[in-house]
């Protein structure tokens, strides 16, 4: 694999190629991942490079995939399964909640489930119903599971390799809106990024903007707009939704005293609520204004004619920042 400029989707593909080349126990499976290379082409070329025994087109049955990989992982394989869209992942949930995330605990470490479930997440690609979900909070609630959301090609590459290395089950959520956006230079050096760490994308001193996934794009745009107004915004990509690196978030908020959290998922019990509650517990007296959240309302993602209203926009983020900055 050469170095050069890669989209997030290509970075995922690059990481999969490397992981499979490095470790023969890595198995890629899912619906249409083999001959077709995946509906988004994330697994393109893997079948040719690694053969049908390691790149497996499965029957169309998500519950089956969720259960099957537990048996594979228990046998020492490292399955990386693609669920075609996040809207179809719910059929796997019993296996994630009741088995994959607790087999290690149930057996006191005798049987473990190192595996990765990859799935595209989020709205903004004019897709049919059930293809625009951001339900990371449902999974963040499961002890024993890790939940990752990369928001750049480099983080997709480094985090996916780390996820495949990890000894526990990982849900790897890929923002579809970013899949082909803004390719960036990437060195295919196999370097892993740390799990359980936030990424500070931009340092600032007046306000902390916390986000993840596709909303990182609008959050960074908002930070640029604030800079033009003379406001210095720190932007943090949470990236690891579970476990959550609260220390980094706390340190930033202690520094700035103001915080806006941006996520595409619905508001109630979203990951933003967990972050806000934790920051209040840790740094209440350092805060100069209430923490505000910019989220989708508690509605299903609208079909595509209205879906842009669902996604937090730059102006929505700036409005929240104004309220926070001007709080008495």
């Amino acid at each position: 694999m050469s170095n050069g400029t890669f989209s997030l989707l290509e970075a995922v593909n690059l990481a999969l190629h490397r992981a499979m080349a490095e470790d023969e126990n890595v198995i890629v499976l899912g619906e249409d991942v083999g001959v077709n290379g995946g509906v988004f082409r994330a697994t393109l070329g893997l079948r040719d490079s690694f053969g049908f025994k390691r790149v497996i087109d499965s029957p169309l049955a998500e519950t089956m995939l969720g259960g099957l990989v537990i048996g594979m992982a228990a046998q020492g394989l490292k399955p990386v399964v693609e669920i075609q869209f996040m809207g179809f992942i719910y059929a796997t949930m019993e296996h994630l909640v009741s088995h994959a995330s607790r087999m290690r605990n149930r057996t006191r470490g005798r049987i473990t489930c190192p595996m990765v479930l990859r799935t595209p997440m989020g709205a903004g690609i004019r897709a049919p119903e059930h293809h625009s979900e951001s339900t990371e909070a449902l999974f963040a609630h499961i002890p024993g599971l890790r939940v990752l959301v990369p928001s750049s090609p480099a983080r997709a590459y480094g985090l996916l390799l780390a996820a495949i290395d990890d000894l526990d089950p990982v849900l790897f959520l890929e923002p579809t809106r970013l899949y082909r956006m803004n390719p960036q230079p990437l060195v295919d050096d196999g370097k892993r990024l740390p799990l359980d760490s936030c990424f500070t994308l931009r340092e600032g001193s007046d306000i902390t903007l916390i986000s993840w996934g596709a909303s990182i794009v609008e959050t960074l745009q908002a930070a640029n707009a604030l800079a033009e107004q003379g406001v210095s915004a720190e932007v943090i990509d949470v990236a690891c939704i579970k476990p959550l690196d609260l220390d980094t978030l706390e340190a930033s908020v202690r520094k700035t005293g103001r915080c806006v959290i941006v996520h595409e998922a619905p508001r109630t019990c979203g990951v933003g609520a967990e972050i806000a509650a934790s920051l209040y517990e840790r740094a209440l007296l350092e805060l100069q204004a209430p923490i505000l959240r910019v989220t989708a309302p508690d509605i299903p993602p609208p079909l595509y004619r209205l879906e842009s209203l669902y996604i937090p926009g730059v102006e929505d983020i700036l409005h929240a920042c104004d309220s926070t900055l001007n709080f008495a």
């Binding site: 029957p59 259960g67 048996g71 046998q75 359980d196 690891c240 476990p243």
Partner: protein, 364 residues
Amino acid sequence: MPHKVALPYTRYLSPDGQLLGDLPAWADDFNLLTRLYRQMVLTRLFDQKAVALQRTGRIGTYAPTLGQEAIGVAIGSLMRPEDVLVPYYRDTAVQLMRGVRMEEILLYWGGDERGSDFVDPAVAEDFPICVPIATQALHACGVASAFKIRGEHRVVVTTCGDGATSKGDFLEALNVAGTWQLPVVFVVNNNQWAISVPRRIQCGAPTLAQKAIGAGFHGEQVDGNDMLAVYDRVQVALERARHGKGPVLLECLSYRLGDHTTADDATRYRAADEVKQAWLEEPIKRLQRFMVGQGVWEGNREQALMVECQALVQRAVDNFEAAGTQAPESVLDYVYAQWPAALAEQREMFLERLARRAGGADHE
């Protein structure tokens, strides 16, 4: 009761232990029959003890295996050490034969995760008891897929009850097993009752075995109370799967003589006459009558067998009661391979909770 279908149905012994046809060749081995009989007796004594321990509050809820002994003992006798068992929660018989210790089974139902951390290396890869119905069938297919990918001649046996065959997990497991011709044997213990729901309102198909046909592989029925029949058909199924001839679904017709679990009261939903009739067909007495009739077992050996088995059970109970409780911190130790640094605060808070409750976790 067997349903009239075109699928094979195997029975060698009548309920009163009479041979109904030719004896299979392997059954000439009377030492084997004696071992199978002994193991069924041991399982039943252990099972009775576990129920008694629950009734006296020394373990929690337990799922009795009463009446299912032939199925488990047959499977346990025939699986090779390198095979993998993916059981459900009524599999005491087969687990004991695989190498799971009685005290481990008691620990599990006695509220202690160490009961699923099997000590015997022979069962290092066997799955623990699976509580969510039918989900284990898919785990079994995953294990079988690993065998197939690596080209190993090992077999997975997974078990479930009749109710489990109604679940999507079971049907998705059959589908993938048939598609990929996986080396897996599905044993359905059709004991006629899924808690209070009888077989006749569980599924509209005349047999459960025929679900295999829809998935493209072989299914058959066997009298689950007839040790000779179950042993014979499990043996054939295992060989078939081991030699790359694909999965098998074996529906064993039995009867759940006990309650669903110790938390259940089956007299609420089934007639005493039905249970009384089922006792006439139970597997242990049937094999005993056959062996006595063949002159390979005498009633006067029964007492010595009981004494021997009771001693084994009692020793396990002693070990169980001496096991103590795990260290309270153990609840944190196996959630992740390493407790994540990002959750360090939660760990500290839990340790503080322990300190507040001076005695640590509830030791009773």
